[in-house]
């Protein structure tokens, strides 16, 4: 597959070769030859001291290997196992390397198999499932956790989050309400506001959340950056780009490597056609597919000569995910097909499949845009109806809504 693409690339690069191919038989013969030579790609480096792979060596790794030894030495120590799994999930988030989610799962697995998993462990397992978009399975595991401990704040919060992502706002709100008294008031309020903001109370939620942010001066770094992200996203949806930028920049000061925040900020910049800033912002984040995607969209607007190469990189990564049966990337893939490859039909297929799994504003945006671009306007009516029922407000949707509305009339 890989080589096939390379062949195409050379031919596209040198269209004259194609034009010059006098006879049809020559074309066939030439390409059969390519196929044969494409089989072997493996190589032996010429120099023994050649670096063939670079591993992450950071502070976490030594801590992780210490914890791992502890877990191996004391396999019945639930606190040690919980700590190790938690750390792996944190590393997955910070580095963007999903292998760590697998490592976390392997730590939890013996406990789950024995039926001795604690509520904490089940919440961690649900988080891993959520990261691979297995939302219904994650909810099942959370219910098990809540059976063990009805007052498990993290379980309620994770449950609310998954229900929010699935677009089940009433369930999410009631999960948030269960947080009252179980954790700090700011977390409970932020949870509720994050749902209400999508459910008809955009303006009010924004104001409330600002009060929460201002009245809690010495809050934990993690909570701070969560609040700032929520505030930024709310401002974007309310159409206040200036305020949104303010929140995002503040959030990035708290954690400059927050991939989610970087993605949200890059989208804001892309909306304002500040492509150059996007490229600079994400320059060293190319290993994260979602961020590479934004960078490539910026490159496209800049008509950069690097564009084709980067599109191929992305295509390869999506291909690799597809060959293992992953569907985690569908939102990104829809955007890739729509904006970079100009394949609105393929984009719509991905966007619709994605919509059946998750229903965040970004999912709504891409499915509506793809419906419009692929002229499958009627396919957008369930989403429009859903939006109306939930009273979702989002300034970024105005353009596509006007297009769709215009065509319906």
């Amino acid at each position: 597959m890989f080589c096939k693409r390379l062949i195409c690339m050379t031919l596209i690069k040198y269209p004259r070769i194609l034009k010059g191919l006098g006879s049809f038989s020559f074309l066939i013969a030439g390409l059969v030859g390519f196929e044969e030579s494409a089989v072997a790609q493996a190589y032996i480096p010429s120099d023994g001291s050649q670096v063939v792979e670079t591993l992450r060596k950071d502070l976490w790794q030594s801590e992780l290997s210490g914890l791992r030894k502890k877990v191996t030495a004391a396999p019945t120590d639930s606190a040690a196992a919980t700590r190790l799994a938690t750390r792996y999930i944190e590393v997955a988030r910070k580095s963007g390397d999903p292998r760590n989610l697998g490592y976390a799962e392997s730590v939890l697995k013996p406990w789950r198999v024995n039926g001795t998993a604690t509520a904490d462990m089940l919440v961690l397992q649900a988080t891993i499932l959520q990261s691979t978009h297995q939302f219904p399975a994650a909810l099942l595991v959370l219910n098990q956790a809540l059976k063990l401990d009805r007052h498990h704040a993290q379980a309620w919060l994770t449950k609310a989050t998954i229900e929010l992502v699935m677009g089940n706002y009433s369930a999410a709100k009631s999960s948030c309400l269960r947080l009252q008294g179980l954790t700090t008031p700011s977390i409970a309020t932020a949870c509720f506001c994050s749902v209400a903001s999508l459910n008809g109370d955009a303006g009010k939620s924004y104001l409330t959340l600002q009060q929460v942010y201002n009245s809690a001066p010495e809050i934990d770094i993690g909570l701070r950056s969560w609040l700032l992200t929520l505030l930024g996203e709310m401002a974007v949806r309310l159409g206040d780009n200036k305020a949104a930028e303010n929140w995002f920049v503040k959030g990035l000061r708290v954690d400059p490597n927050d991939h989610y925040l970087l993605g949200a900020y890059a989208d804001l910049l892309l909306d304002q056609e500040r492509d150059r800033e996007v490229i600079t912002l994400l320059a060293d984040k190319n290993q994260i597919d979602g961020l590479l995607l934004r960078s490539v969209i910026a490159l496209q607007k800049q008509k950069s000569p690097l564009l084709m190469e980067k599109i191929n990189t992305l295509q390869q990564r999506f291909g690799a995910a597809a060959s293992r049966g992953d569907t985690v990337h569908q939102r990104e893939q829809a955007r890739f097909e729509l904006q970079l490859k100009q394949n609105p039909n393929t984009a719509m297929d991905f966007a619709e499949k994605n919509w059946s799994i998750q229903k965040e504003p970004a999912d709504l945006k891409i499915v509506l845009e793809a419906a419009w671009a692929s002229q499958r306007v009627s396919a957008a009516s369930p989403m429009l109806e859903w939006m109306r029922q939930n009273k979702l407000e989002d300034a970024r949707l105005h353009k596509v809504l006007a297009q769709l509305g215009g065509s319906q009339r």
Partner: protein, 383 residues
């Protein structure tokens, strides 16, 4: 149990995790296992990520975060033992020993992999019709790991499958037996013939162009052609133009050099039939029907390519398949022409040929194709 505040246990930093984009940047762990019949032997290549091997057995001897080729080489024995202890291949309940022949490196989307080349020593490879595989690489340390299997028979047909902790065992029914190049060619040839015979849109397009080939338009009146030679020449021009055009685009599409949206292609094909039929009623393209054949032939080629790709192309025999399929299409088409031409020539001076075949026939074809067009372009079902 008492309520646990997230701050005390998991840390609030953890909260943000929940809202994190599914930006699975790097890539979950996969290994790429390919098995292939070559002659009388079953050979394999197994690509395993160096970073996975580092996690499982340790490769970076000096622990400096950089793996050099010498470090990999020093571990070749360990890698082979580790890997092969996690893969069992059997045929008819009898284990096939696996023998490593070489280790190289290979690049994949997320980094460098060791490429383990091996031979599977099953008895009578050419008679094997099913293989049992048990895969357990890395499942103990990373339950999200998957093994991506590609099995290629001697005929170049490949099957793919995915190993996961939920599905570590696979029984693959395969015909590893050698199908000769000639048999493959014949197979695709038959598909080609079959497709043109059941592909009414292609046939109707061609027939619409051929119906008037036995006639001559003089002063807005159709007159029968006198010379059989002229008729044959006219038919030859049209068929050649159509053949040439669709061969070009069929090849370009099958080789993945160009691709067009299926819906668009199918709609234009239907439209081309409408146009060709209308051209018989209102001759606007009369003397140069071969141009029409060539222009729309290009689009029909993409239609053939869709069929070919549905058949599933083995990468190794792509060229063979393409030629076989294309020749099949041409032959099927020639058979149709061979039936049509004498009948049309014989009927050409009868009045019924003009009224029934040319006029009514073209109206019928145009109507039918118009329905196809609407169905395909707007994705609705009329019948």
């Amino acid at each position: 149990m008492r309520a646990i505040c997230p701050r005390s246990l998991l840390g609030v930093a953890f909260l943000l995790l929940l809202f994190v984009n599914p930006a699975h940047g790097h890539k979950p762990s996969d290994s790429y296992l390919s098995l292939k019949v070559e002659g009388d032997a079953l050979v394999g290549q197994w690509d395993i990520a160096l970073r996975d091997l580092e996690f499982a057995i340790g490769i970076d001897a000096n622990n400096d975060g950089e793996i050099i080729w010498d470090e990999v080489r020093a571990k070749h024995q360990d890698i082979a033992v580790y890997a092969l202890s996690h893969l069992k291949i059997s045929s008819k309940e009898r284990a096939c020993p696996i023998e490593v022949s070489a280790q190289k490196l290979n690049q994949h989307a997320d980094g460098t992999y060791t490429a383990l080349f091996f031979k599977v020593l099953c008895a009578n490879v050419s008679k094997i019709d099913s293989l049992g595989l048990q895969y357990s690489l890395l499942f103990d340390v990373d339950p999200q790991h998957k093994g991506l299997l590609k099995l290629t028979s001697a005929a170049g047909k490949s099957t793919t499958a995915i190993f996961s902790p939920d599905r570590p065992d696979l029984d693959l029914v395969i015909a590893l037996a050698n199908a000769s190049a000639w048999e493959q060619f014949a197979d695709y040839f038959k598909h080609g013939v079959w497709h043109i015979w059941i592909g009414f849109d292609h046939i109707l397009f061609l027939l619409s162009l051929l119906i008037p080939a036995v006639l001559m338009l003089t002063k807005r009146v159709w007159l029968p052609m006198e010379s059989f030679k002229m008729v044959v020449l006219e038919v030859l021009k049209i068929v050649t133009a159509f053949t040439l055009a669709h061969s070009i685009t069929l090849s370009l599409a099958a080789l993945q050099l160009i691709s067009l949206p299926t819906r668009w292609v199918e709609s234009v094909i239907a439209f081309s039939v409408v146009l060709a039929a209308l051209n018989n009623l209102f001759p606007f393209f009369h003397a140069r029907r071969w141009l029409l054949a060539f222009g729309f032939g290009l689009i029909h080629g993409f239609g053939f390519a869709n069929v070919l790709s549905d058949l599933g192309l083995a990468e190794r025999s792509l060229g063979l398949a393409l030629i076989g399929f294309n020749l099949g299409v041409e032959s099927g088409q020639l058979v149709i022409v061979a039936f049509f031409l004498p009948v049309a020539y014989w009927l050409r001076s009868k009045r019924t040929y003009q009224t029934v075949v040319l006029q009514a026939g073209s109206v019928g074809i145009a109507l039918l194709a118009a329905i196809w067009f609407v169905e395909r372009a707007f994705e609705v079902r009329i019948f």
